[in-house]
Symmetry: C3
Subunit: 634 residues, 3 copies
Amino acid sequence: MKRSLGVCYYPEHWPEDIWPEDARRMKAAGLTWVRIGEFAWSRLEPEPGQCAFGWLDRAIETLGKAGLRVVLGTPTATPPRWMIDQFPDMLAVDAQGHPRKFGSRRHYCFSHRGYLEACRKIVTELATRYGRHPHVAAWQTDNEYGCHDTVLSYSDAARTAFRDWLAQKYQSAEALNRAWGNVFWSMDYRSLDEIDLPNLTVTEPNPAHVMDFRRFASDQVVAFNRAQVDILRRHTHAPIAHNYMGRITEFDHFKLGADLDISSWDSYPIGFLSDRLEASAEHKAAYLRQGDPDFQAFHHDLYRAVGRGRWWVMEQQPGPVNWAPFNPSPLPGMVRLWTWEAFAHGAEAVCYFRWRQAPFGQEQMHAGLLRPDSAPAPGLAEAAQVAQEAAQMPEAGCCAGDVAVIFDYESAWAWETQPQGADFNYFRLVFAWYRALRSLGLNIDILPPDTQDLSRWKLVLAPGLATVSPALMTAISDCPGTVLLGPRTNSKTVDFAIPEGLPPGLPGLDARIARVESLPPGVNVPLEGGGAFVHWAEEIEGTAPVLLGRCDGSAALVGDDRCAYLGGWPDDATLRTILQTLCAQREIEVFDLPEGVRKRDASGLRFWFNHRAQPVQWNGFEIPAAGVFWHGLD
Amino acid sequence: MKRSLGVCYYPEHWPEDIWPEDARRMKAAGLTWVRIGEFAWSRLEPEPGQCAFGWLDRAIETLGKAGLRVVLGTPTATPPRWMIDQFPDMLAVDAQGHPRKFGSRRHYCFSHRGYLEACRKIVTELATRYGRHPHVAAWQTDNEYGCHDTVLSYSDAARTAFRDWLAQKYQSAEALNRAWGNVFWSMDYRSLDEIDLPNLTVTEPNPAHVMDFRRFASDQVVAFNRAQVDILRRHTHAPIAHNYMGRITEFDHFKLGADLDISSWDSYPIGFLSDRLEASAEHKAAYLRQGDPDFQAFHHDLYRAVGRGRWWVMEQQPGPVNWAPFNPSPLPGMVRLWTWEAFAHGAEAVCYFRWRQAPFGQEQMHAGLLRPDSAPAPGLAEAAQVAQEAAQMPEAGCCAGDVAVIFDYESAWAWETQPQGADFNYFRLVFAWYRALRSLGLNIDILPPDTQDLSRWKLVLAPGLATVSPALMTAISDCPGTVLLGPRTNSKTVDFAIPEGLPPGLPGLDARIARVESLPPGVNVPLEGGGAFVHWAEEIEGTAPVLLGRCDGSAALVGDDRCAYLGGWPDDATLRTILQTLCAQREIEVFDLPEGVRKRDASGLRFWFNHRAQPVQWNGFEIPAAGVFWHGLD
Amino acid sequence: MKRSLGVCYYPEHWPEDIWPEDARRMKAAGLTWVRIGEFAWSRLEPEPGQCAFGWLDRAIETLGKAGLRVVLGTPTATPPRWMIDQFPDMLAVDAQGHPRKFGSRRHYCFSHRGYLEACRKIVTELATRYGRHPHVAAWQTDNEYGCHDTVLSYSDAARTAFRDWLAQKYQSAEALNRAWGNVFWSMDYRSLDEIDLPNLTVTEPNPAHVMDFRRFASDQVVAFNRAQVDILRRHTHAPIAHNYMGRITEFDHFKLGADLDISSWDSYPIGFLSDRLEASAEHKAAYLRQGDPDFQAFHHDLYRAVGRGRWWVMEQQPGPVNWAPFNPSPLPGMVRLWTWEAFAHGAEAVCYFRWRQAPFGQEQMHAGLLRPDSAPAPGLAEAAQVAQEAAQMPEAGCCAGDVAVIFDYESAWAWETQPQGADFNYFRLVFAWYRALRSLGLNIDILPPDTQDLSRWKLVLAPGLATVSPALMTAISDCPGTVLLGPRTNSKTVDFAIPEGLPPGLPGLDARIARVESLPPGVNVPLEGGGAFVHWAEEIEGTAPVLLGRCDGSAALVGDDRCAYLGGWPDDATLRTILQTLCAQREIEVFDLPEGVRKRDASGLRFWFNHRAQPVQWNGFEIPAAGVFWHGLD
């Protein structure tokens, strides 16, 4: 399959007479895909039950005739105002108990049955009408599930649904009391209908209560999406996607993605740097107009896993955005770099958001490929350049990773529920490990926590995995390569309790975590040979061989070349050294990449990306500032 | 008119038998005015409909007989507790949906019709009784509109009134949908009665929605005040004032001031430094006991414009206050300095708040001219000194400004609605420009945004003006002097959309803002010749001559000696240099004032103010620490 | 009485068959006491009115037969879920108006009459059944009153009760209006039933209103506790205790403690360092795994006063906890050090919290003496060592203090109500004085504010005492030693007004506070001889002799060797110097202790504690790191 480009477009925002010219210019820029419709419900159904598809028919026709392929979105992220009259209680409720009102987007609770039914109706209408349409080549469900903190709702509908979910899981209050340990603080329930949502309690609620609520909330998103997919499948053979957001961990993307054909995500490197990354002020200043060098790649690899190999960037930042605390312009070249980076990580398509900057509404300061006056914005030329370059390239494809990292959404919930140290965060932990690997020039695969076969990788990492499933435990046992786990691995049972016998309980590794401590900023636990644990340190006991010691004489890293356990959160340099050592043992080639330079192999090519604002000399060639260089793999 | 002094007094707080002695001491200190009554509703109408004016009659008589002139306040900022029983829904509601309860002050929603009617009644009572009273020489409406964040209310009354306001403005939902761009995110309304207040939305509401709500809220304050003025006018010929607060921008003071005779404001330099000023810790430490050297002057000039020339300081800080995070004492001399600074900027009167420090209630730690034990506080002697000095001075009067700065309340709302960068603030922007001008020793006039004739000034500045009205556009065209605009000038239409053809759309200036970026702290865009843009930078395109370039080759400042546009937020030194250059071109005399020294010309005198804690040698004379020096203008 | 050790135990958490072995191991470790029952309501009364005491009978029997003495807790801190159905309005309401829901603990409002009655019933059941039980040797009421900010509730029940309380105190609205100064801002009430709770007002409520609410809230806690004590007294002769928390000042512990036999508190040195102490980052890093060297001692001395000499540590931190922002492990030795420090300050018993770490529930990351797998945690051996050491020691007893410090809960409320400077805090102030004394090696007694006889002490300190009662004023007059007061002493009347004649109004001291100022961080008022006032400075007038001057010529410290007044908040070194000078005048022996070393004399022994992570040479002997050294007093 050729790598292709696309764009997000809102025909309903513009006079119909400029659609043909817009379509022509898209095509001329080398774009293939055009995503439409996902926020248009008020124009598709202006009055309850009275649909108005004429304009959408004409838009699709115009775009299709210009040679573009349409991705059609279901409009369920923005129900019209009249829906609130039908279902006043459909709004999500925040943790403080306030209904989250109409007037922006995502104003619905995933648990509201009436709204779910309304979604089924509009999706059925769309699927019936466009399911076999020759120009509609893909579908998108809803938009950015979880954005704006919308997974967790404390509404009446959510409470009712949570009780049902608990009833399914536990069957009785007695079983639930046992599982949750409700004898603690007299939290016993006599009936499941006594259970409330875990907000506004006097002090922290039972973590087992919170974890089940988190699982429930994730399941509600999956079920909401599945309802749409089930309808679409009855009417179309086109692939179905959803556009995930960056660093949204409130629902299990692997579970939701299992119902879809394509995984896609919305990549805003500069916004994310400002808004969603723990990093020093120096790092943020150095990459202000480029975004973090690893943040996008991490999501590319993650969502490739979520899509079981098939994935897109559905929205690619094309210039300054409007929603981060500060919104600088990308360096010239970054739009091209971001696009090629996505392709190097195996993206089938990259679509820019959006075609023309809207002069009105919430995102009027969000750049498009066109300016509001229809003149080309800087991103357009870079997109067109990629289109030309891609046309010359071999077919898309993705090389197998050298190493694998397991990512587990439940662990993210677990450590939010019980951080134990104020700055302990699962995403941050896994991302630090990912960054260390990538700074060594490795191709990385991200794996779901229920992976049953680890034999493809020489090195598998699973930091912070709260609970190791029996299946994964078997896979670890059977893995011929090295599996590195910890900290906090397997330290919770499925009921969010400390396991009998203490963690990590790994086969063939006589090691128990006797005690843990969290560390405030500025304090660390020094390791032999320099370096230190930060944030988190564990006391390991047992007879497992010590691979690295702490200066106080305890063990920091124990195990052997099959299975090792790291009892803390190393500083970045130490982590890199540890991983480099493991790679050397397994004869995995690593690279000592310069600051800001990253590498990725794909379909016979080796790509080098320079995220810095200065050109870099490397391996005898120069990578331009904010640029990319590639060559054939020997 | 002679410059005069006054004081705020609460006869209801003190035994009646000490009133005569208080009055005598006021007069002996050289005070002319005494403001009373503005918080006394519970004593004027102890039971609904049963007024008790006897004590006020006697208080006015006592004060008047001592030779003082009374400013009588309407008591509508503090309705009595029984009013809440009559109108339980009269309380304002905060953005989180909580009614703002009785128990302090300003506990009312401007949109509540019942409360408005109650205000009309009490004002009618007062106006009827005291409108022609020989000792009542001026009136004040309410107290500090907008203080404690009271302009914006999310009550049911506000929602109803907002819908009415929208109906007046748009006539139909269709027109409103078009104006607001509600096609974006399916925000279309079918009826104006579907529109809610823009709080508690899932993510940010439509900025056009917010802007109309801000305009509405401002209009409600204006209408509330006008209702009182209309009544007073029917019964009195005395001038009517309101006492504005510092850095309150939530309502349009120009519009409200148009109904009044005198503008006045409440000047608390040390509290404002701590509480309402963006400045470095060093700056705040250097002026800890003086207040910022420009903050008061800015408001003097602003409120002179609001009062169309007639203005007072109604409350002048006389010592430490109680309401800032930290409340240090003023340096000896500052009470005199503040007073003379007000006079130099054209104040007719300066009244100290308050006569005697109250030993009870919320402000018991707020200094007065007297201590709670009736001994003189340090401020009293300084006030008396000013009274003696003023008696020797020529009549009050105000020299015309050398330069003008346009201040626009709607722009303040616009950039709060859409800062685009977290630290972009309109007041801060205009104040930085004002400070740069004043540090050059210039006399500054502040102008409203609907000024129709700019021909009086050689230099007119309008930073950050969101929308340029047709009238102002004409005035700019016709202005014989230099008009300097930008950044963000005219970047929004009246419907809060990006204008067609892109901003700034200035006559005779071929310049368009192709792209903007906001910059986090610590990052800047370097300019040629040193200096940089901070906070904000714009990419200018067009053929307008480049007056100053960026180091990256783009234009920073374009235009000619009639109209220029600055595409960013310069650092303070650069801004000063730019303005110095423009002054030189227009042959406006500037001064290279030492740190902390400021100058103002008025009625044939030149005043030099030294806000520093050390004496300063300047121009051959010494200005004492925290002191003022004046001489005749040659 | 021998010093004894104990532990907190939750038989309901564990299978009944391991109770005997647990009891055996407790006894083997040298423990005497076992506290049980305080969170077990849902297991004691699983259905309303149906009690199930069998398991508790057996648990007490098992523990008692092993030779342990039981402290039985009333379970009223954790009412079962069914109680909420009986009294849906029994939940406390937070300052934002949200009910604080079931799902953790302390989910009740002290003012709810229905819940109070339910508490009386369960306490009666327990008292009847176990009041004369041979193994039940002490009682504990409820658990940690005030923890999780639970003293102040804004519920309907609280409002009703507050009005009753006000009616008792003032009898009429007129009297209340006068006392509160409600003429200010028209806050007059016509009836006491018009009075609301002082939350959600537009700006700050009347401080007199807040102070009465604080007094009321404290009284409600005292009354709630007394209701239980009254019942217990009818059925048992065993001593009754409550376990207070650290730095909880929301209720008057002296008043509550007057109803009890023993005062006890829950000592978590490492959690408190992280969570409840103003200190520099360096200080917090230096004592990260030890806790602050004075924080525990302060509470030991405070609660010894609250218990009128009889006091325990009811919960002693045995390892890392779960509830602070960061939770590091104690240094080896600290559990022993903490225990001996408590004994040196006169504790009768120290009980560790808890026996075995629970693998479930909110506190599953809170260490116990046993790990979750029943292996000994590090704390167990240290506890056992103390048990052995204590067995060799003379009987417990407490030497009289060299100096006294007055601590007053009402002053804590006063300065929270009116800090005047954002960082002014009463506890912080008193603790700074305490720390300075203790760093001089002094034995300190803490006294309640109604102490009538100060003749036992050569030096008595009372910083920040808001109101000096007539009784204390007499005691000060009669005190043969030196009494040092200020800042802010006696600056409020009982009605929270500034007293006539200005503070401090001390007998024989002609000094008045003419003006006060609060100072932001980084700013100070220099004193003669070096040093400075920080946070707070006062202008003193009068003829009292000046003992220390400010560099600006005003007085800093005035008085004589009987009564002195300090007009500011000195930096730590200056405070130490001032106190050292006073001690020298009174011939009180002081010690120039090394950093982190502290001393306490008790029952003929002198204890030296080294809180540092390094050993210290001192007086010819070495105190180990995190260690204690003792010798006989000569």
